[in-house]
C-alpha cells in the first residue's frame, strides 16, 4: 500500500531560539516592501517521502538522513513526536501562522532529488520504490490581525514564486492539530499527451496570426505564408511537431534574423555631436560588421591563433602552447524577468554547457556576470507606481544574485569578473549576461579537439536530465516581448549537481575518445541540438518515444522542443556506444540513444514508430530569405525618443551637490559607482586556485575593498604553461545610448579593452565578444519607433567594426537579444540599447600582472589617454606603449577612468590602502569619457617612462602616506570618508 510520510526538521533545544540573520533580514524586507510588520519569522525545511509500501522503523532512517544529530530534531508524521505549539511558544510565538510553501507538480526540486538519492543509499531501503518532495514551513507572527489572503500575498511576494510554488496557510488550531501531518501526499503531474496532429495553414491571415500567438510560434505572417507555400509543394499539411521545429529554428533567438537582414540605413539631419555615417545598405549586420571585422583583422594581421570562430558554441583561441581557450557570453533576460533565481541560475548553467559543447567539449574555468537592473528606491523617490505585472526590481536583483551564487558556486566555476549596472528602464526587463571561459587540450588521442566529427551512422545520445514541460517555448518566448499571458511552462530551474556530473562525465568520455561530437541542448531543446548537428551529416532520425521523461503525458512536439535543463546531445560511433553508456551509468548520468545521424537530407522524427516530422534540412536551415528592414535616424527621431519615454515628465530633477568634495562623496555612493562587495563576495571567485587578479584589492590592513579592472586567470593549473595567464574584462555604457549609440559602443568596447590592458594583458593578443540587448527594432503598430532603434543598432555595429578593426582585436563570439520590452495595458517599457563587450587578453607572464591600487609612497601619478577618444589608431598606440612600460617594470599600478570620472578613479586607487594622493590638475574631475587610465610609477623610472609616450601622458601628482586624496587648491578628503561612502550598501554585510 502506497504510504507517504512527512518529516520536518527543527533545531533542537540547545540551539538559539532567536531569529537567524536570514530570518531577520526577511522580516525587514517584508516590512520595507510590503509594509507589514512580523515580529517573528521561523523557517524549517520538510520532506515528503512516498513509498510503495509502509517502511518499518522509518523514523530512524529519516533521522540518519535528514537531521544533524548535533543540532536537529525530526518531527515525523509517523510518530507525531512533537508538541509544535509549545515548541513554537519557546521561540516566542503565541499566535503562529504557517505558510507552507511546496513546489507545484513538475517543477525541478533539487533538494528532493538529493534526498531521494540519500534514501537509496541505505541498504535496507533498496527494495522500496521511493519518491521525495521538498518544501518549506514559514511560521509567521504579526502584531496586526491579518487575513489568510494577506499571508498568502506576502508569501508570494517574498517566500515563494507563484509560477513555481503553492502556498497553504494554516492557523494555530490547524498547526496544533497537525492537519498537514495527517494525510501527506506528493502531488503528481497530471497531463495528457496528444498524438501528433496536422495543421492546416490554408486560412485567412487573422486566423493564421491567432494560431501563431496561441501556439507561441513567434513567426511573422510572411514566414507562415512561406511555410504554407512550401508544404503546398509537398502536397500535404505540416504536423504540429514540424511547425514547432520550424518555429524554434527560425526564432529570432536561434536564427538572429534581424542581424541577418538587409537594412537600408538613412540619416537625416543629425544632432551636432553625432558622427555622420552617411546612407548605406547593409546585407547582414553580422556578416558585415562583426564577422567582417574579424575576417579583416585576421587577414590584415595574419593571425594564426584564431582556431575556431563563429560556427561553434563558443570561439576558440590559442593563447598557450598546451591548451586552447574558448569563451562565450549569453543573456538570459526573459526567464530572469519571470523567475529571477531560476532564470539567472539556468543562465549560468546554460553558458557553461555552451563551453562543454564547444569543439569536442571544453572544461569551464571561469564565469563572468553582468546585471542590468533597476532600483525600487528610484520609483519610490519619484512616487511612480509600477504596473502590477512587474516584479519589484529589488526582488529581481536579489533573485538573480542568488541564482548566480548557486549556479557558479555549486558548479565549482569561479566568478572572476562582472558588473552591476542600474537604470530605471531595466525595470521592464532585467538584463542578465552570463559568460564562461573554458579550456581544452589542443589535441587529444592525436585528434584536434576543436572539430566536430560526427558521421552518418553515429547514434544520437541524449545525456543529463529528463524531459519535462519546463522550458517549452523558451526560444520563441524570448523572441517576444513580455506580456501578461506568458506561459508558466517557460520557467526552468537549474540543477547544478546534475550538470556537474554531466560535465565531469563529458570530459572523461572525451579523454577516452568515446564520442565523435557533442553540443548542448539549449534554447529549442532537441529540435535545435539535433537539428544543428544533423546539418553536419545532412540528416538524422529521432525516435522521440525513447527519450526519458520526468512524468508521463508529454506530447511529441513537447518532447522535441522542451528546454528541460542539464542536457547535452552527443553523437556516438556505434562501436563505442556500449562503453559510452557504461561510463555514463557509472558516473550517475542518464544517457539514452534516441536516434541516428544519417546523410539523407531529412530530419525524420518518429513517435511510437509513426513519423511525426519529416523536414528537409535545406528548407529548415537555408531557405529563409533575409528580412528587408529600414533604419532611419535624424534630429526629429532623437527628440521623439526622448519625448515618448515612458517616464517623461514623471521624474523629479536630481539635485547634485555643487561643491567638489560633496560631489565626489555623492558619486562614490551612487548606484553605478558604489561597492557591491556584499553581493560579490558571495560568489566564489577563486575556486580552481587560478584566479590571480580577484574582484577586489587593497591593503590587508584596511581590508580589500577596492575594485580591480579585470580578472586574471592562470592557465598553469588548467594544463597551460606555467608562466602564462589570460585576462577577462567587460565594458558597458547604456547611459549614453540616448546620446548616441555609436559613441555608446565605442565606450563599451574601449572600456573592456582598457580594463584588460590595465591588468597587464597584451593589446596585440586580445579578442572580443559582443552581446547586444536591444528594444524591438522592427516597426509595427505597437512599436512605431522601430526604424530609430534599428538605426541605433546599425550605428552600434558600425562603431564596433571601426574600433575593433583599428585596434586589431577580432570578435570571436557574440549574441544578440532583440525584444527587451515590457508591454501590458498601455504601458511599454523598453531597455536602453545596451551593448556589452567582453575582452579576453593574454597576459604573457605573471610578472606583467598589475593591480589597480597604489603601492608606494613617493610613486608618481600619471594620466594616460586623451580627453576624448576620437583617434582609434592612436589610442591603440597608447595601449601598446603602456603595455611596454608594464613589461619594463615601470608601472606599479594601473586603473581605468570610467563611471564618475577622474576623481572617482583616483579615489579608488587609494581608498582601501593606507596611502594618499596629492594631485595638481586643472582637468575636470567628474567628466566621464573613454580611453583614460591612471598609473603610478617608480619615480626613479620617471624619465624613461615619460620618454615612451609622445602625447596623452600627463603627470598628475604623487602618492603620499597620509591616507587622503588632496586635489591642490580644491579639496582634500580622507580615505575613511570615501571608503565609507563607497561601501554604503556593502559595509558590515560580509
Amino acid at each position: 500500500m502506497k504510504t507517504t510520510y512527512r518529516f520536518e526538521i527543527y533545531p533542537n533545544q540547545h540551539q538559539s531560539t532567536d531569529m537567524s540573520s536570514t530570518e531577520k533580514k526577511t522580516t525587514e524586507w517584508i516590512s520595507k516592501y510590503c509594509n507589514l510588520k512580523f515580529d517573528k519569522l521561523f523557517k524549517v525545511n520538510y520532506f515528503l517521502l512516498e513509498s510503495n509500501e509502509p517502511i518499518a522503523g522509518i523514523d530512524d532512517f529519516a533521522k540518519t538522513i535528514l537531521t544533524d544529530s548535533v543540532t536537529d530534531v525530526l518531527f515525523s508524521s509517523e510518530s507525531k513526536n512533537m508538541d509544535l505549539v509549545s515548541y513554537l511558544g519557546q521561540r516566542g510565538f503565541t499566535e503562529p501562522v504557517l505558510c507552507d510553501v511546496s513546489f507545484k507538480p513538475g517543477v525541478t526540486d533539487n533538494s528532493a532529488q538529493a534526498v531521494l538519492e540519500a534514501f537509496k543509499l541505505i541498504p535496507d531501503l533498496k527494495k522500496y520504490e521511493l519518491n521525495v518532495a521538498s518544501g518549506e514551513c514559514y511560521y509567521l507572527q504579526s502584531t496586526e490581525s491579518l487575513t489568510d489572503e494577506a499571508f498568502e500575498k506576502v508569501s508570494y511576494e517574498k517566500l515563494a514564486n507563484q509560477l513555481l510554488h503553492k502556498v497553504t496557510i494554516q492557523r494555530k488550531a490547524a498547526i496544533a492539530a497537525n492537519i498537514r501531518m495527517q494525510a501527506p501526499k506528493i502531488i503528481e503531474v497530471v497531463s495528457t499527451s496528444h498524438e501528433a496532429t496536422t495543421i492546416d495553414l490554408n486560412l485567412d491571415n487573422s486566423t493564421l496570426l491567432k494560431l501563431n500567438t496561441d501556439n507561441c510560434w513567434a513567426l511573422s505572417l510572411d514566414e507562415i505564408h512561406f511555410v504554407r507555400d512550401y508544404f503546398k509543394t509537398l502536397d500535404r499539411n505540416p504536423t504540429d511537431v514540424e511547425m514547432e521545429v520550424i518555429a524554434q529554428s527560425w526564432s529570432e533567438h536561434c536564427k538572429h534574423k534581424i542581424f541577418a537582414s538587409t537594412i537600408e540605413y538613412t540619416e537625416g539631419e543629425l544632432p551636432a555631436h553625432m558622427k555622420k555615417l552617411g546612407d548605406f545598405e547593409v546585407n547582414s549586420l553580422f556578416k558585415t560588421f562583426i564577422r567582417g571585422a574579424t575576417e579583416k583583422i585576421k587577414a590584415d594581421r595574419n593571425l594564426q591563433w584564431l582556431i575556431s570562430i563563429f560556427h561553434d558554441n563558443a570561439g576558440i583561441v590559442r593563447f598557450d602552447k598546451n591548451v586552447d581557450v574558448c569563451i562565450k557570453v549569453e543573456t538570459h533576460n526573459s526567464p530572469s524577468a519571470l523567475d529571477p533565481y531560476g532564470g539567472a541560475l539556468t543562465g549560468i548553467l546554460g553558458v557553461n554547457r555552451d563551453i562543454l559543447g564547444c569543439g569536442q567539449g571544453a572544461k569551464p574555468i571561469a564565469n563572468t556576470n553582468v546585471f542590468c537592473l533597476a532600483e525600487d528606491s528610484f520609483f519610490k523617490e519619484n512616487n511612480i507606481k509600477l504596473h502590477p505585472k512587474l516584479k519589484n526590481p529589488d526582488r529581481i536583483a536579489e533573485g538573480v544574485h542568488l541564482g548566480v551564487q548557486d549556479g557558479g558556486n555549486k558548479s565549482g566555476v569561479p566568478t572572476v569578473n562582472g558588473a552591476f549596472v542600474f537604470d530605471k528602464d531595466y525595470v521592464g526587463k532585467p538584463l542578465v549576461f552570463c559568460g564562461t571561459i573554458g579550456v581544452l587540450p589542443q589535441a587529444e588521442n592525436n585528434l584536434s579537439t576543436a572539430e566536430k566529427r560526427q558521421q552518418p551512422g553515429d547514434y544520437i545520445v541524449m545525456s543529463g536530465g529528463k524531459i519535462g514541460k519546463d522550458g517549452i517555448h523558451g526560444a520563441t518566448f524570448s523572441s517576444m516581448e513580455l506580456n501578461e499571458n506568458a506561459p508558466a511552462s517557460v520557467v526552468q530551474i537549474g540543477d547544478p549537481i546534475t550538470q556537474k556530473r554531466l560535465g565531469d562525465f563529458l570530459i572523461e568520455a572525451r579523454q577516452k575518445n568515446l564520442f565523435s561530437s557533442v553540443t548542448d541542448n539549449g534554447a529549442g531543446g532537441l529540435s535545435s541540438s539535433v537539428g544543428e548537428m544533423a546539418g553536419l551529416t545532412n540528416g538524422a532520425i529521432v525516435d522521440l518515444d525513447r527519450a526519458p521523461t520526468k512524468y508521463p503525458g508529454l506530447s511529441p512536439f513537447e518532447l522535441m522542443v522542451s528546454e528541460s535543463q542539464e542536457r547535452m546531445t552527443f553523437s556516438v560511433p556505434k562501436e563505442k556506444v556500449h562503453q559510452f553508456l557504461q561510463l555514463s551509468e557509472k558516473r550517475n548520468v542518464l544517457s539514452t540513444v534516441i536516434g541516428e545521424f544519417t546523410n539523407q537530407g531529412q530530419l525524420l522524427v518518429r513517435y511510437n514508430g509513426k513519423t511525426v516530422a519529416d523536414l528537409n534540412l535545406h528548407f529548415l536551415h537555408e531557405s529563409l530569405r533575409p528580412m528587408q528592414l529600414k533604419a532611419h535616424i535624424d534630429q526629429a527621431s532623437v527628440e521623439q525618443a526622448k519625448a515618448t519615454h515612458w517616464l517623461n515628465g514623471k521624474v523629479k530633477e536630481e539635485v547634485k551637490p555643487t561643491e567638489a568634495k560633496a560631489q565626489l562623496l555623492s558619486l562614490m555612493a551612487s548606484a553605478n559607482v558604489r561597492s557591491h562587495e556584499h553581493l560579490v563576495r558571495r560568489y566564489d571567485h577563486e575556486v580552481k586556485a587560478a584566479t590571480l587578479v580577484k574582484p577586489f584589492t587593497g591593503s590587508e590592513k584596511i581590508g580589500r575593498h577596492a575594485p580591480t579592472d579585470a580578472g586574471v586567470i592562470w592557465l598553469y593549473p588548467h594544463g597551460g604553461e606555467r608562466d602564462n595567464a589570460i585576462s577577462v574584462s567587460c565594458g558597458i555604457a547604456p547611459q549614453i545610448s540616448h546620446h548616441d549609440a555609436y559613441e555608446m559602443a565605442v565606450w563599451a568596447l574601449d572600456e573592456a579593452v582598457r580594463n584588460s590592458v590595465c591588468v597587464g594583458a597584451d593589446p596585440t593578443e586580445m579578442v572580443l565578444i559582443d552581446n547586444y540587448c536591444w528594444p524591438d527594432p522592427i516597426t509595427s503598430g505597437k512599436n512605431p519607433d522601430g526604424a530609430h532603434k534599428l538605426a541605433q543598432l546599425v550605428r552600434t555595429s558600425k562603431a564596433i567594426y571601426d574600433l575593433s578593426v583599428d585596434y586589431g582585436m577580432p570578435f570571436v563570439s557574440g549574441k544578440d537579444s532583440m525584444k527587451n520590452d515590457f508591454m501590458a495595458d498601455d504601458v511599454k517599457i523598453s531597455v536602453q540599447p545596451t551593448l556589452l563587450v567582453t575582452a579576453m587578453g593574454r597576459v604573457r607572464s605573471l610578472n606583467h600582472i598589475t593591480t589597480s591600487e597604489a603601492k608606494n609612497v613617493g610613486d608618481l601619478v600619471y594620466l594616460i589617454g586623451p580627453n576624448q577618444l576620437i583617434d582609434f589608431k592612436k589610442q591603440l598606440g597608447l595601449y601598446k606603449t603602456l603595455h611596454k612600460a608594464i613589461l619594463l617594470g615601470f608601472v606599479n599600478s594601473a586603473h581605468d577612468v570610467s563611471e564618475g570620472g577622474l576623481a572617482v578613479s583616483l579615489t579608488e586607487k587609494i581608498m582601501s590602502t593606507t596611502l594618499g594622493l596629492e594631485i595638481d590638475t586643472k582637468l575636470d574631475l567628474f567628466v566621464e569619457s573613454a580611453g583614460r587610465i591612471i598609473v603610478t610609477i617608480d619615480p626613479i623610472k620617471q624619465k624613461e617612462f615619460a620618454q615612451l609616450f609622445t602625447s596623452d601622458c600627463i603627470l598628475l601628482g604623487t602618492v603620499t602616506g597620509d591616507a587622503k586624496l588632496t586635489i591642490k587648491n580644491q579639496f582634500s578628503v580622507n580615505n575613511t570618508e570615501t571608503l565609507a561612502a563607497y561601501r554604503i550598501k556593502a559595509a558590515g554585510a560580509i
Partner: protein, 255 residues
C-alpha cells in the same frame, strides 16, 4: 631510491577542488591520483595503496540537507571498512571545506569511532563568503600544520556552512572544547570572528594528528601569485603549500 609518497584525491558527486588539491601535492614530489568516489567504492582495496587521502572542497550533492551530509552517508555505507583500516594504519587524511564537513558528518572528527559531538552549520551571516582571513596555528598534534605552529598565516575561505558547533548545553559544549584544546586538537583558529564558529575554530585534528579538517583552503594559497593583492604577490608568503609539504615529509619518514 625510496618510493614516492602517494596521495588519493577523491572527486565526483559535486566535488570541485580535486585539481588544485592534486596539484598542491604533486608540486612537492607526491604521486597523485584523482579518483571518482564510485571507482573507489567499486574497488575499496585500492585505498590501501595510498598514504594520503584527500577530500577536496566543493558542493557534494549540491549541499542539500546539510553540507557533506549525503557524501558522508555514501562513504559510510560503502567504504566504511577500507576507511577504518586506513585510519588504524595512521595514514593521513585531509578534508578541506566540504571535505571537512564530510569528515565531521562521517564522525571521523574530532575523534574517530565515537559519538558525534561536533558539526559545521550555517555561517552566522547566513550566506556564503569568499575572502582571505588571518589564522593562528596553535601548538597541536597535527602533522599537517607542523612547520606552521606558532605562526600567523593567511588563507582564503569560501563557504556558507563553516560555523563549528558542539553538541549539548553550554557546559557540555565548553567541556568538549576544553578537551580538544588540552588534547592539542585545535589545528587552526581565525584571528577574528569570521563566521560565528565556536571560539573562532577554523580547523580540527584527531587525537593522533593524522586527520585534519579545515574550512580555509590551503590548496588555493600555494603560490605568491595567488595572494589577494598586488603588494602581497610581491612580498607576502603563500602558507598553504606548507600543509602539503608537512604531510609528504611525514609520510616519507614514516612509510
Amino acid at each position: 631510491m625510496k618510493n614516492k609518497v602517494k596521495a588519493l584525491i577523491l572527486t565526483g558527486d559535486g566535488i570541485n577542488c580535486e585539481n588544485e588539491t592534486a596539484l598542491a601535492f604533486s608540486e612537492h614530489g607526491c604521486e597523485t591520483k584523482i579518483m571518482h568516489v564510485q571507482d573507489l567504492i567499486d574497488q575499496p582495496g585500492l585505498l590501501s595503496q595510498y598514504q594520503i587521502l584527500a577530500l577536496p572542497g566543493g558542493f557534494s550533492f549540491g549541499d542539500e540537507i546539510g553540507s557533506g551530509q549525503i557524501l558522508a552517508l555514501k562513504l559510510k555505507y560503502s567504504l566504511g571498512v577500507a576507511l577504518t583500516e586506513f585510519i588504524n594504519n595512521k595514514k593521513l587524511i585531509i578534508g578541506i571545506c566540504n571535505g571537512f564537513q564530510v569528515l565531521v558528518r562521517l564522525g571521523l572528527l574530532p575523534k574517530p569511532f565515537t559519538e558525534r559531538q561536533m558539526t559545521l552549520t550555517h555561517n552566522r551571516q547566513g550566506h556564503f563568503i569568499n575572502k582571505w582571513v588571518n589564522l593562528t596555528v596553535p601548538k597541536s598534534n597535527c602533522i599537517w600544520t607542523k612547520s606552521l605552529q606558532g605562526k600567523e598565516i593567511a588563507l582564503p575561505i569560501r563557504h556558507g556552512e563553516g560555523k563549528i558547533t558542539f553538541a549539548g548545553d553550554q557546559a557540555t559544549q565548553h567541556n568538549t572544547f576544553s578537551a580538544l584544546v588540552s588534547q592539542g586538537q585545535i589545528a587552526l583558529s581565525y584571528t577574528e570572528d569570521v563566521n560565528g564558529s565556536y571560539q573562532q575554530i577554523a580547523g580540527v585534528t584527531d587525537p593522533t594528528g593524522c586527520i585534519l579538517g579545515l574550512m580555509p583552503h590551503p590548496e588555493a594559497a600555494t603560490s605568491n601569485w595567488l595572494l589577494p593583492d598586488g603588494t602581497a604577490k610581491k612580498t607576502g608568503q603563500a602558507f598553504g603549500q606548507q600543509f602539503f609539504i608537512n604531510a609528504i615529509k611525514h609520510c616519507e619518514e614514516r612509510f
